[in-house]
Structures are given as structure tokens and as C-alpha cells.
Subunit: 465 residues, 2 copies
Amino acid sequence: MCRSTAKAGEAEKQGRKSASTSHQTSSSRELIDTSPPRGTRDFDPQDMRLRSWLFGHWEVVSRQCGFEQVDFPVVENEELFVRKAGEEITSQLYNFEDKGQRRLALRPELTPSLARLVLKKAKSLPLPAKWWTIGQCWRYERMTRGRRREHYQWNCDIIGLEGVAAEAELLAAITLFFQRVGITPADVGIKVNSRKSLQAVLTQAGVPEDSFAAVCVVVDKIEKLPREKVLEELAGVGVADTAAEKIMAAMGTRSLDDLAQLLGSDNEAVSDLRRLFQLAEAYGMADWLAFDASVVRGLSYYTGIVFEGFDKQGVLRAICGGGRYDGLLGALGGENQPMCGFGFGDAVIMELLQDRGLLPDLGHEVDDLVLALDEDLRPQASGIAQQLRKKGRRVDLVLEGGRRMKWAFKHAERINAQQLVLVGQEEWAEGKVRVKNLGTREQEDMSVEALIHSLTLSKLTATAS
Amino acid sequence: MCRSTAKAGEAEKQGRKSASTSHQTSSSRELIDTSPPRGTRDFDPQDMRLRSWLFGHWEVVSRQCGFEQVDFPVVENEELFVRKAGEEITSQLYNFEDKGQRRLALRPELTPSLARLVLKKAKSLPLPAKWWTIGQCWRYERMTRGRRREHYQWNCDIIGLEGVAAEAELLAAITLFFQRVGITPADVGIKVNSRKSLQAVLTQAGVPEDSFAAVCVVVDKIEKLPREKVLEELAGVGVADTAAEKIMAAMGTRSLDDLAQLLGSDNEAVSDLRRLFQLAEAYGMADWLAFDASVVRGLSYYTGIVFEGFDKQGVLRAICGGGRYDGLLGALGGENQPMCGFGFGDAVIMELLQDRGLLPDLGHEVDDLVLALDEDLRPQASGIAQQLRKKGRRVDLVLEGGRRMKWAFKHAERINAQQLVLVGQEEWAEGKVRVKNLGTREQEDMSVEALIHSLTLSKLTATAS
């Protein structure tokens, strides 16, 4: 019927091992590329256990902080992400046209989707709302810096709240997470600033307010680009040399007191930051935070407090970042709401945890391994396995024939089973199975009823201890 | 700097509520489309709770049956999905070209990715392996039948096992899930067949073996297409009229005995099915299963046992489906392995659960609600909330100012909090907070230390009961 299956047919006629059960079968066809697309990952069981461990901590912390989970499609209309402020994120959009000539994009971040859902729910959403999500995000970038084209991101956002109590709550979630996984303020710090300080400088220097987002995107590159290049880009978004010098001065302030001196202590940036640090003390997380005037974050939509988690050894890229973005709904054509949130990627934190030896050693987990020592007893073994499962046990049933007891012990160890249930002719003739506790190495022959009953008992014991 | 932000700037000058905190701000820009792309879904907190409930059951069952979790990218190289057997799945591929001119596709199903990962791991994968995953799958189809363009799918697959013990284990997982969520064999059945019976008929009729996959894809449409159209399509894949009649006859057999009569009792389809039903008895799941010669499933790669879960009221589409696909690795250019698995979508099962009144009523869940009755006490309230969280409690802290006690009671009820912690001037002056148990309606003033201590105690009590 077609070239590839015809070839498969030919190969089949030449004879293969399991010809009787295969129809599309092995062929002279060239092996496909077994790697996932460039810049993307597979998660085999071992990788997946680590990912689930990380996501599990993110989930617990989100729930401990009273956030509700939401989710959005990984593909969105392209227009949702197209902003004009020269962000990296827009130039790296993973966009395409579908069969209906719609412009779509794999989301580069989660915040625009969240904003869209807030707009969709409009008045029906009780405010304030606290939402969390974990989602995969995509960026089409050159594969030079060891960066991938996809990563997972944990987001927490607070909708409908003015004032830094909201930002403090976001930082509380981040620091709770760090503590849960064993990271200390010696490993990681969080730099905190407010974009309102930049805004004050720009206003003093007579830079038009509508250049603000674009200026922030340029300022974010100060540490990466040569000074002339930054000045050139600032000129490109309408900032004259004298104003640029003032921006540099503000970015160079070393303390909140210096900033207050530069901008006046009634400046909003100063009072917001003072209040935030006061709350941080109360939360018991002040050790993690430090004012840093150079942090503005690279996204155009931030309007107030911005923050960034960083590796104190200075080796890794930013660990997480966030801030207040009170103007995003308006930029999407809706009515503004005060909003703030953070994004926390899976890549850098896993590197950090690996470096610090904080990743757990996780194996497959099973409670019982059930083995029929005789193929005739497979039905009995299957029934026992299913009964154990109905009691809530995680049960691996040996499905291949011909496995002996010695193999079963090794396999049980490999999958971390607690108990081995052997169904053999001799015991079964007496209505019993052999049960071996793999912790104590004790073994006992018992009826299936007694086995099930013993589980109920051991569960009670475990709960009480 | 650009049209949209310039407009935003203008709007800002006209004056808005929170002008001092916004910079991109509301604008005369038209509201974006707040719906997700056509055929896709958002999950607000309520939708998400139901989805997590469903996924949670899938996860528990997968672990109870000893499967290990894996995952793959939602975007794959297009070639992974391109098969030549006329499947619906290939014609509905959500494919596109990336900026590097690579042909990519949003995955329409999970099995090809799983097969790719098996090929990638090659000899390093200990067999047999049992893998499970939940992933979003995409199909670009006309939006006529109320079908969406994305859905989530639960997959369990067993790699490296010949013989129907593997298929029995898959069916055990599916029926365990049904039982967990309250579905009975009165609601749902699973039709079971083997493609080997069709193969025997085709061999008898002299149809070339390499037409097999394409024939199955056509035969799967028998109930949807008029007879002449089916005969025409069969002729198109090289099946003559007389052979077509035999296929129809085999598809019409009513029992395994009839099938044995038609094909001979030493036929592999017959012996596989008899063995599978024998194991199903032992698993205690025979009530769910029935032989049905008309089931072949629409995917080209199945080679042996195939099965399909269906709504016994005949209203809904297939609930789940799967089978043996021993030839898929070969079709991808690799060495074949015996493999079988199933896919179980989120859409139809949620409709069924809704229809049968089996969906739970899930609300936001919080343990403690903490409220500062005076804005000056916000730092103290924040500290208490964070301490409770460190003890493992889920704590919502009231972040907005000016909330009174009456509101707090209502809000606590809305978020299903167990306990309300009020931080008021009078109690705090004595070093205490007011703690109201929302179940018993009892209240008590206590120190923060006593509050934390009481939680540790109540945890012990709960565990022992």
C-alpha cells in the first residue's frame, strides 16, 4: 500500500523472532531520531521522580500559603504575548500559524494567560484572589548558553491587592520553599527593588512616562552590555545622556537611606521598600532579602516592587523573579487591577540543589511484590495482587513467567518493596501463601484472608506511631 | 515610542484611579480576546480542583499497580506521528514549522513518544517496564461535534512482555480506577477483541499482510460509514469483495465459541482471548469485560488484543482504549519489543461522572485563617501565619486592610477553614490571640506558643484515631 509498510512486509518475510505477533514490524526503515526535539527533555522514571519531588514541594508551599491552583493552555493566541518594549521574551516567541491561519504561540511565560483569565472572569472573580500554577513555558532561542527551549515554571500571583503586604506574601512562599528543601540564606538571597525609584528619576529628568517600560527593559541589561551600548539603547527609547547618568546613579545606590537621600524620603519607592522590609522581619524572612537598586527585571510590565532570587556563589542565573504589575490588564485592553506575582523555573533550582547535594535519592516505591512460583498459579497471584491494591497497597505483580524465588528477592530490593508474597504449589494446597517481610527478613505462611487482615492491622499501628 | 504605549500614556494623563502605581496602564486599546484559543480550555480554581481530583485517582491507581511515571515534550518532531495507514490521527495533526525550518507537531497521543523513549534508552532499560503518564494531547479537527482540540490523557504501558498477562494488568488498572470513583459494571463495560482474528481472516482470504494496518483503520469505521463506503475503502487498501465479506462475518461473531468455529480453536486470537478472560475472572474484573468482535480500534499500530471502554447507556463516545502494539518500534526503524498500553482521556469520563452524579463537590481548603483586626498588628499576624505554615498548616492570611470579625467568619466558611486566628489589640496586649474553632464554635484566648503547641497535639490525636 505504501513504501514504508511494503518494506516492513519484506523484512517480515525474511523472518523475525516474533513474526506471529507482529504486523507493522521491524523494517529496513532508518531509525527515527530518538531524541526529543532540540532543546526539550524527556523524563524517564528517575528524572520524573525528581521532578515530582520538586513540584510536590511547590504544591505544598502554595497550599500552605492559601493559594488556589489554576491552569491555562500551553498554546495561546500570539497577540497575548506581543509587547513593544523590546523584551527578550517577545523576540524569542515560539510562534506559528495553525491550519486555520490563526497566529498562535507556545507560551513563553504564564502571567499573560493568568491576566487573560482574570479579564475573562471579570466581575465574577472574588477579589483578592491568590492563584498558583505550574506550567511548561517555551522560548525559541539559540542553543548556545546551555539553555533549553522549554522549562517548567511555578507561579504564584495575587490579584486585587494594592500595597506591599501582597509582595511580602509572595516572598513568604518563596522562602518557605527554600527552607523545605534545605536551602539557607547562605546559599540564596533575594534582591529587592522598586521600579518606582527609576520612575522618579525619569520624571525628574523629564523623560516621557510612556517610555518607562522600554527604559526598564534596557536598564535590565546593564550588567550584560557595555556601557556605550546601554547609553545607545537608552537614547533609542528617548532617554538623553544627562537622564541616563541619573539612572546610573540611582541604580548605584547602596542602601535604602542613600535612595531616600536621592529621591526624598516621601518617595513611594522608599516607603514601599521600608514597609516591605518591616513585614519581612515579622515573617522571619529578613535574612533572605536585601535592597538592590540594580534589579529591575527584564519584563516590561512590572510597575512597582521587583525582586530576584540569586545564587550567592554567583555561578548560576536568576533562580526566580517577580514583582508588581498593576498595568498589565490595561495593556491587554481591560480595566486595571493591582496584581503581583513571581515565576520560579525548574532548571536553575535543580542545578543549585544538585550542586549543594540537596537532591534526594529517590527509587521506585512499591509495598508488595507478588510472584506465582508456578505458571498455573498466575490467576491466584493476580487475584491476590488485585485484593491488596483494593486495600490501598502499591503492588507489583511479576508478569513474566519462569521467575524463581532468588530473582524475586533481588527484584524486591531493587523496587524497594516491603513485602514479598510468594504463591507456590505446596502452600497453596493448604490454602496459604508465603509472606516474607523484607525489612525484618521474617517469613510466615498465611491464608490470603490473614494477609489482608495483617495489612489492616499494620496500617493502624503505623498511624498510631 | 510605539503606538500602543503612547495611547496608554494618553489615557493615563486623562486620569485613573491608581495612576501613581501604573505605567503601562489602561488604554483605549481594544480588549484582547479573553477566551483561550478555539477548542482549548482554561482551568479556574473550581475546574482545577476537579481536574486534580481526577488526575489524583489516576496517579494512585497507577502507583497501586506498580507503574513508574514518565513524561515527554508536548511538541515532537512531526515524523514521529506520520504513519501511512489513513488514520484520523495523522490527518488531524496539529503541525507547524519552527524558526529553524523544522517540522514539529503538538502530540496527538502519547504512545509514539513513549516508543521513542524506549528506543532512546535501548539496552539500558530493564525489562519488563511498566510506565504511566498523564499528558495533554492535541488534534486539529473541525469544531463540530463538541470535541475540543486538546485533552488530557492517562496512559499506562507495559514494555517487554509477550502474553496476555500484560493486557490483564492494564485492564486491572482501568477497573480499579472505575471502582475508586464509584463507577460500576452497570455504567461501563469494556469490549475486548484481538486483531489476530482479523489477520487470520485476511490470511485465509489471501490479502497481503502489509495491508493489515490499513484494513484495521477502515474496519474501525464500520459503524460510522455506510456499507458501500466501507467496501470502497477496503478495495482501496487491496481487499477484494469476497475477502471483505469474510471480514464482515468475522466482525459479526457473537461469542468466542463462534469465533473458534470460524477460525479454529487453535487460532491465536481465540486462545489469547480465552486466557485473558480466565485471568479477568481471577482479578475479579470479569463483570466489566465482554468479547466483541467488532472492536478493532482506529490506530494502525495495534497487533493483538484490543479493548475499548464504553458507556452502557450508549450516549457517550469511547471512554478509554488500548491494546497490544508489538510492531511500533519496528515501524519507527528500531528493534521490536512486545508492548501494550491504554489511553484514557479526561473529557468523556468527566461527562460520565457528571451524568451519574459522581463528581465530588470540592471547595478551597484551608486550615487556618489569620486576621489582624488592626492594621498596626499586620506584622504580628504575618509572623503567626508563617509559623503555622512551618508547622505544615495551610494558612490564609487576610492581606487587605479594614476587614472586621464578621467578614472573617463568613470568609472562613467560604474557604472551609477549620480555625480562625484573630490578632486584636486587647488580646495582644496580654501576649495572646483569639482562636475560634469553626467546627465546634468554641473560642479561646491563648499565646502564640500555646496555639502552635495545640496544633502539634491535635495532629497526634488525628493520626491516632
